[in-house]
Structures are given as structure tokens and as C-alpha cells.
Symmetry: C2
Amino acid sequence: MTSTIDEVNYTVRVKPSNPDACAAWQLLVRFFFTHRATLPPIAAELELSPAQCHVLHLIEPGRPIPMRELAETLACDASNVTGLVDRLESRGLVHRRPSPEDRRVRVLGLTPTGSRLRATLVARMAAPPQTLARLSVEDQRTLVRILRRLLES
Amino acid sequence: MTSTIDEVNYTVRVKPSNPDACAAWQLLVRFFFTHRATLPPIAAELELSPAQCHVLHLIEPGRPIPMRELAETLACDASNVTGLVDRLESRGLVHRRPSPEDRRVRVLGLTPTGSRLRATLVARMAAPPQTLARLSVEDQRTLVRILRRLLES
DNA sequence: TATTGTTATACTCTATAACTATA
DNA sequence: TATAGTTATAGAGTATAACAATA
């Protein structure tokens, strides 16, 4: 376990700069951990698993996506995506279609039913938690401005 | 596809209040979804599952926690916690002890090994993503200020 | 009676390894 | 040879229901 302690010290040593970024990151992690519990109930309500919600969320209407890309975005193995899509497909929410350019590739799209369910999911997830809604409008706007900057980089 | 558009419009119609909070929330969700993929590799590196990381993270050194409380914080069934703790306990990271006050309750604590592993985990998660580090220091500080306000409410 | 935690069960999630079919 | 996806397999995560011990 010496190596473990060394590793900790190493981390601390190489990243002493940027204390504000570290503080912000810690707070963001804590905020999301606090709200992590909101997805499972929403998923259950729609008779989906949290993982299926992620997939449905990532397949945008009218924007088919190769399975490979989905696996990369989810940071999971390709075989996992096969199973996830199998279950969504058997429920008629998603379809696989061969890519015209590369016949190895399967492109995923939403069925009309899947598209409707996705819209419901997005709507159910859109409501901000009360803590966020209770911030002053000025803080909310500042937050939006900074987060936009964060996400466009 | 028409129904999808209708449903989206409906959502827009019924939640026109608090547009800034909604926008902030959407951005936060997007930010975290973008960084969601960072935990599994860190977990794998420490030979833990993501769920086990959550548990380890929630058991603070010197602050024993009843299993029931853990189940509530994780928003999962108590039987699930039994399994999670079984595996952590069999690896010598966590221990169960009967509560002196209520003999139905089992209180969880970290072993020395578990405590060290938790420290490594926390250190590995502490590094902010580059996007955050690239923000101006002023934005970082503003973000910290607002997030603190958000979390103390 | 109600609550804490466990067990049994069933299903989903997940990775690894071996495979097929394309490129 | 390399890549996209599948299958088989094994283990972990998860909820439900039934249960024991305790309150």
C-alpha cells in the first residue's frame, strides 16, 4: 500500500495550481451526487432502466448514430451496447439499420414510439431541482453564462 | 415525428416560468453527462466497480453509517446494499458492526485498508477536467461562489 | 405492528474472449 | 490486418417478495 500513498502525494504535488478549478469541480461532483438519485425513479416511471435512459437520450430524433459511437460516448464495451439495443429494439423503441457507406456499421435510430418516449423522458428530466430554482435570477444567469463557456470549449 | 414535436412544445408551454433555472439545469446535466465516463476507468484502476466507489466515497473515515442510511442516499433497495457491502467486506475494505442503541441496525465503517483505498479514490477524482481548468480564474471563483450557495440551501 | 437487514430469485448491466462479416 | 458488431459466459448491480430479529 506504500505505492498507494505515494500516488496520493504525487497527485497532490503535481496539481497544487488551480485551486479554484479543483474547488469548483468538487462542488460540481457533490451537487451531482446529491441529485444522482433522481434518475432511477424517472426511469422506473417510464419502465426503463437508467442505462436505457442514457441510450434513448443519446439517440436524437432525426440523427441516427452508429453503435460504435454510442459505445464510445457511454464509455462501455461494444457488446454491452448490443444488449442494450436488443432490449430497446424488442420494445419497438429503436431500430438498427445498415450503413450505406460501410456495411459493417449499424446505425441506430428512434422509432415513432421511441421518439415519443424520449420526449417524455427529456421533459421529465428538464425540471430543475428546487435548490437551483431557489437561486437568485442573477446567479442563475451567471451560472448559465459560465456553463455555456465551459461547454463550448 | 409530429407527435414528438407536439410533446416538446407542450413541455415548453407548461414550464415557461424559471427559464434560467431550467437552462442552468440542462447545462449542468450536459456537463455531467460529458464527464460521466471518467469514473469507470478510475474504478477499474482501483479494481472497484463504480457502485463500490460510491459506497466507499459515502463511508467517511471515522464516521460510521447505518446500512439503511446508505440505501437511502444511494436511492436503492436495502437488499442491494447487503450485496454491495458483502463484496467490500470480503475484500477487507469495510466492516459491519451492530449498533449499540438499536440491535437491528448494522453500522458500516472503513478498515485501515479501506480508508487508504478511499483516499486514493478521492485523490484520483479530485482532478478537475481540462474544460474547467481552462476557464478564467474569475469565472472559476464565481462558479465556486454560486455552487456553495447552491449546496448550502 | 413497524423497521432493519438478509435471503432467494429474476432480470439488467457490464466486461472478456472468441467469432463473423466486412474493410 | 484491422474494425463493427454479435454471441457466450461470468460476475456485479438492481428490485421484489418472503423472512428473522428487534423495536
